[in-house]
């Protein structure tokens, strides 16, 4: 028949969904962070990373700008700023 369809898992990172952002993007101020990890927990993309206080950041290649992390941060250490990258620019870089 067709044989097994083996796909390379964990390779989904080649879709740069960051180009979906149109209005705003989160800015991690890294000033009052208490490393509660709520932003890591609730990011639908799973693109927030960091290890200690004031080291958390997001990967703009994948962030869709939903603003959930900015709203959940108990210290208001994440703010939404205006998006400057033009739509499709990231996808253009890929080529």
């Amino acid at each position: 028949m067709f044989g097994p369809l083996i796909v390379k898992s964990k390779k989904v990172k080649c879709d740069k969904t960051g180009s979906w952002r149109i209005e705003s993007k989160p800015k991690y101020l890294q000033k009052n962070c208490i490393a509660c990890k709520m932003c890591v927990f609730i990011c639908p993309e799973g693109c927030v990373s960091g290890k200690e206080k004031n080291t958390y950041h997001t990967d703009y290649n994948y962030c869709k700008g939903c603003s959930l992390c900015a709203l959940i941060c108990p210290k208001q250490d994440i703010e939404m700023v205006k998006e400057e990258t033009k739509l499709g620019e990231l996808q253009g870089e890929k080529k």
């Binding site: 369809l5 796909v7 390379k8 898992s9 964990k10 390779k11 989904v12 990172k13 080649c14 879709d15 740069k16 969904t17 979906w20 952002r21 709520m38 890591v40 927990f41 609730i42 990011c43 639908p44 993309e45 799973g46 693109c47 990373s49 960091g50 290890k51 990967d59 994948y62 869709k64 700008g65 939903c66 603003s67 959930l68 900015a70 709203l71 959940i72």
Partner: protein, 293 residues
């Protein structure tokens, strides 16, 4: 968690997708020794656009109705190989794949007693194909197949009591959770996995597109559903209610007014009363109200 992500970024869920939050929390709580059988649905479509996959664990998709049947087969094979103790099997589906299309496969899996965790991501409609109503769509919701107008008020049927249906099978663990409570999801998944036998968890996951709310409101909406009593968080072990999230009930308007799909209900005091009654019944049934002394 960050070093070896089991649910990787770059998938094509909408911004603020509740299901993506819940799916990531579930797989991270379950750990890497997991095999997933997935129904057709949003989750399958946005994580595995060929030839890519967001999953860092073995993952299989067959048909819309049979994630539970496939998971049963995987579990039986692992048992035969003598590896069941080291590997978790998870079957996961949306609400349509659980309550409508996959109900008989799910019932069979529960009845045969397979050691599988079944996770239902309840976004309250067939969101993937364009927001058609499902068995788990709540009363009064506006979907493309239950539009409100002069004759209809939206979805005329109440939400299917999936928790009661699953409980009737006499399985060891049944729970509901919500994307608004990330630690609750992880605690329940870890507890479920430690129990042998069929387990069922239903997670309430807001859908910004289908429910018509801002993508940044996902967690607020999920929390409000619990706080109004419309989505009680309960946990049953061997048929006994062992824990519930107690609330100071808020009026249902607070939950309804943030979503476009309930806009018509707010203009209709009679229907609003009916929705409030559903919440009141839940609060009474599970004893959700905080006892003040």
């Amino acid at each position: 968690m960050e070093n070896r992500p089991l649910f990787k970024s770059g998938h094509t869920a909408c911004a603020g997708c509740g299901q993506a939050i819940a799916a990531r929390l579930v797989i991270e709580a379950a750990g890497e020794n997991t095999i997933i059988a997935n129904n057709t649905g949003c989750l399958e479509v946005f994580t595995t656009g060929f030839p890519e996959s967001a999953w860092g664990v073995p993952w299989i998709h067959s048909l819309f109705e049979n994630a539970a049947a496939v998971a049963s087969g995987v579990e039986a094979a692992l048992k035969y190989l003598g590896k069941k103790d080291t590997v978790n099997v998870i079957a996961q589906a949306g609400d349509g794949g659980t309550a409508d299309i996959g109900l008989q496969a799910l019932s069979g899996m529960l009845e045969r007693g397979h050691d599988v965790l079944y996770v239902c991501y309840d976004n309250e409609a067939y969101e993937n194909t364009g927001i058609q109503r499902s068995g788990l769509t709540p009363y009064g919701a506006n979907t493309t197949t239950s539009p409100p107008g002069t004759v209809s008020i939206g979805n005329i049927h109440p939400k299917k009591p999936m928790i009661d249906i699953v409980l009737a099978h006499g399985i060891p663990y049944v729970a509901t959770s919500s994307a608004g409570f990330p630690r609750d999801i992880q605690r329940k998944v870890k507890k479920a996995i430690s129990i042998k036998g069929p387990k069922y968890i239903q997670i309430h996951v807001p859908c910004p597109l289908g429910w018509r709310h801002e993508s940044g409101k996902t967690l607020d909406v999920a929390k409000l559903a619990v706080e109004t009593g419309l989505y009680p968080l309960v946990e049953y072990e061997n048929g006994v209610l062992v824990s519930k999230r107690q609330i100071v009930p808020k009026p249902v308007e607070e939950y309804l007014k943030v979503q476009g799909r309930f806009k018509h209900i707010l203009k209709n005091p009679e229907e609003l009363k009916k929705v409030q009654e559903i919440a009141n019944n839940n609060i009474e049934k599970y004893g959700l109200k905080v006892q003040t002394q």
